[in-house]
């Protein structure tokens, strides 16, 4: 067990190192110089340009060779310092990310977990009820093939613009400030429904199809037939089939996390939801190196940790893994 986890951890550490290095490098190799952008936005007079350029170059640590910038980046990272935003100088990147993360998590976590749970349940049901199979299956195919962003726009158009039952932008009503009140909680939930639905529905479709196909496969497997031949009740057979079918789905969950995060980014932009997605867009538009780096670092860590959690959970869920590990010991 320890060896298994140790090996996994090592792989994750290497992945982390490579991903962070790429994360550091990408904004630096994009065309466009962030300080020029800043000066252009400032409408800095040419006479002030020299003083301002040298001031900002130093402030952002661009006055040292690239290899040193890279080392400084790692040193700062281990001190929990993600640097200072360029476009919003001198706001620390961490402050911007900290402000946006709760919104993104509030969308992502429920969307991932609930769609996984509901998709698998409905998929399993569809596999044994013909009527359901004929409706849920095509609907799921449509949903899973729909880009989250497009679905978001359609939902906004139907429920916010046409029916006017739900708000279209933001995370809470414009007349409110976040506070410990029922009014705020209600407003927050109302604003949350549409972006959540856009993420939930697309993921739901994928899980439902996957589970439906897996269940059919498992029900035809030898162990199911054997169980049935022994006279086990159908319910029990299906229960075993479901549990076996769940395993590849969980592996799928680990693989799908990245895509869901990317989906959340575009959905947030559609709804002007003040999470990491919206922040990413402004960071990219402004060539805000440190902010781009910070957000991606956060996402990389999020996806890696979630994968690790799934890896560990797998040990408990799938007895064969444990048996395999015991055997190897």
């Amino acid at each position: 067990m320890i060896r298994y986890l140790g090996r996994k951890l090592l792989i994750y550490l290497v992945t982390f190192f490579v991903a962070v290095t790429v994360d550091w490098a990408i904004p630096r190799f994009m065309p466009g110089n962030p300080i020029d952008q800043l000066l252009a936005r400032m409408h800095a007079q040419p006479q002030s340009q020299q003083a301002l350029t040298s001031y900002y170059t130093k402030a952002f640590g661009f006055d040292v060779p690239v290899w040193k910038q890279y080392l400084n980046f790692w040193v700062a990272l281990f001190h929990g310092d993600l640097g200072v935003s360029i476009a919003n100088f001198p706001t620390p990147v961490w402050e911007l990310i900290r402000g946006a993360v709760p919104y993104t998590l509030a969308l992502l976590v429920p969307a991932i977990l609930l769609s996984f749970w509901a998709g698998n349940k409905v998929g399993a049901l569809a596999a044994r009820r013909k009527a359901l199979d004929n409706t849920v299956l095509p609907a799921s195919y449509v949903l899973t093939a729909t880009p989250q962003m497009w679905l978001g726009i359609v939902l906004a158009w139907v429920f916010a613009t046409t029916l006017a039952v739900l708000p279209v932008t933001g995370a809470y009503d414009l007349s409110l400030q976040p506070a410990w009140t029922l009014e705020f909680a209600e407003s927050f939930l109302k604003h949350w429904v549409l972006p959540f639905s856009a993420l939930f529905l697309v993921a739901f479709g994928g899980w439902a199809i996957g589970m439906r196909n897996m269940i059919i496969y498992e029900l035809e497997a030898d162990y199911s037939n054997y169980l049935a031949a022994l006279g086990a009740p159908t319910k029990l057979v299906r229960k075993y089939a479901y549990r076996n079918a769940l395993l590849p789905q969980i592996t799928g969950l680990a693989l799908a996390l990245g895509a869901v995060v990317a989906g959340a980014i575009v959905v947030e932009i559609v709804f002007s939801y003040p999470g990491l997605g919206t922040l990413t867009l402004t960071a990219l538009q402004n060539r805000d190196y440190f902010l781009i780096q910070g957000i991606f670092l956060f996402l990389i860590m999020g996806v890696l940790i979630a994968n690790l959690v799934i890896d560990i959970a797998y040990v408990f869920i799938d007895p064969r893994t444990r048996v395999g590990m015991a055997g190897s010991n």
Partner: protein, 573 residues
Amino acid sequence: MRIRPWATATVAAAFTAGLVALFVLTAAGGAGASGVSYPRSQTLYMSGNQWSPNNDLNPAKTWDYVTGLVGFAYETPFRYDPLKDSFRPWLASGGKWINKSTYVMTVRKGVKWSDGKPMTVKDFAYSFNILKIKTHAQNPFWRDTGLKSMKVKGNTLVFKFGAKPGYQQFDFYRFNVAIVPQHVFKHYSKTDITTGNLKLPIVGTGPYLYKSGYGAQSQTLSWQKNPHWWAAKQLGLKVGPKYIVDIKNGTNAAALENFQAGNIDLFNNFAPKKAITGKAKTYYSKAPYHLAANTTWLFPNTTHKPLNDKQFRLALADSINVGQIISKSYQGLVNKANPTGLLPIWKKWINKQVVAKYGFSHNVAKAKAILKKAGYKTGSDGYVRNKDGSKIDLTLAVPNGWSDWMTAIQVIAQSAKQVGIKITPSFPEYATLVDDRGHGNFDMVLGNDRQYSNTPWTYYQYIYQLPILSNQTNVNYERFKDMKAWNLTKGLDKIASTNTKAYRAQMTKLETTFLKNLPVIPLWYNGMWAMFNTSHWTNWPSSKPGHHFTTASWRNYWQMTSIDMLTHLKPVK
């Protein structure tokens, strides 16, 4: 270990519930505000200025500070009315040139800071002195206006200049320098004063007090009426809305949906013409609907062949069908620019004879004739060739996503084709465009950076400033080297606006050299995009007499006449 399906469900549900609770907690803690909900009938909702986080409280950062920081909280010595071309004493009760090189500014008495302390001449002196810091954006006040010294004398500030003061620039700073409280700002370091974001509380003199919303993640920033505003007592002014909520922009489309849902009263983003319907009103009731805020220019890179040839530029200008751009990209929401490019607010300085003689307008035959006369021959493909016989293929770039400009340059490419000039539209990302533009790696770009000001000097400086640096971040993108024109521009700065005769003569010279050489090509006037929702507030700015005010919530507009918009607003009963 057995995992039951219901267990997954429970975990998911519990996690979700917990997360929502956690979120509410974090958000509330983050904003540090108490629960507030504003009565609709007393609140003005606006949007269109704020794109960056609501956490910059530095009046020196005129491109980034939160909406209303200067105007609502901090105020300026004077205000400038661009529609009437007049200055209005504000925190200064008056000011005048007592001789050609000495200006005396009198500080208004009876003004108090929002913390109760009186505003004095010392605050004025302090506010102008901090501009001496080299990294201060308004540092040119000390460096370029010819200012030699500034002294406090009684209740006045005496500004002494060299032999030739930069009157135009000085006037510009008179309504653009925020007066800040010395007793608060003295605790900040020089770096903080010039480039920091500064902290709460905001101690100002203006009509509104900060209410809530400061923070990197905040969607809105709100202000509450200052019951002790000096102008109420001294000038009898009263702002209409008790609360103002400024909404941070997400996307244009999302903001427009919010406006159409009635959640925004003042909408300062671009919106298509079809949005002006029902309760949505604009400054003019018919085309072009909006005031003109700036000119859209075509910048040809004058270091590239054949754009370095003025005859080619003149032919290019004649080839562009601006009328078609106006109908196709803007559905009539903008007007064609005067050939001088000068905004309608500077109409009185435009010399009509000069324009009649040297001006240009869409004329295919004339463009072709100019090219032919200048020696450009047409190739077998119908396109003109460089004089050395090589092919011409010019790119014209605008930022990706700027849909109105993207359509516009396609029209430009098509109309240039009529005279045989090959133009390929290009849509790089904004950051890439800025980089290429600054370093001269482009053929042609569109630009509209300069806004309303008290003087066309700001426009000519934008076009002619020399020397050319390796990176041109804000001026002379076209890299046009014309020392004579730059000297004329500097000369304009040194003529007082009151010296109308000399001013007009200098303007005529500038307009003539501009039209003869056409270093940049003015196309159309971009609007001061403003839609008013008349459901909750009425008496908005309009072309009707007595309502001529600027309509923008954008930075640097409040100290023009956008504040008057607020003092005239009335709630709908």
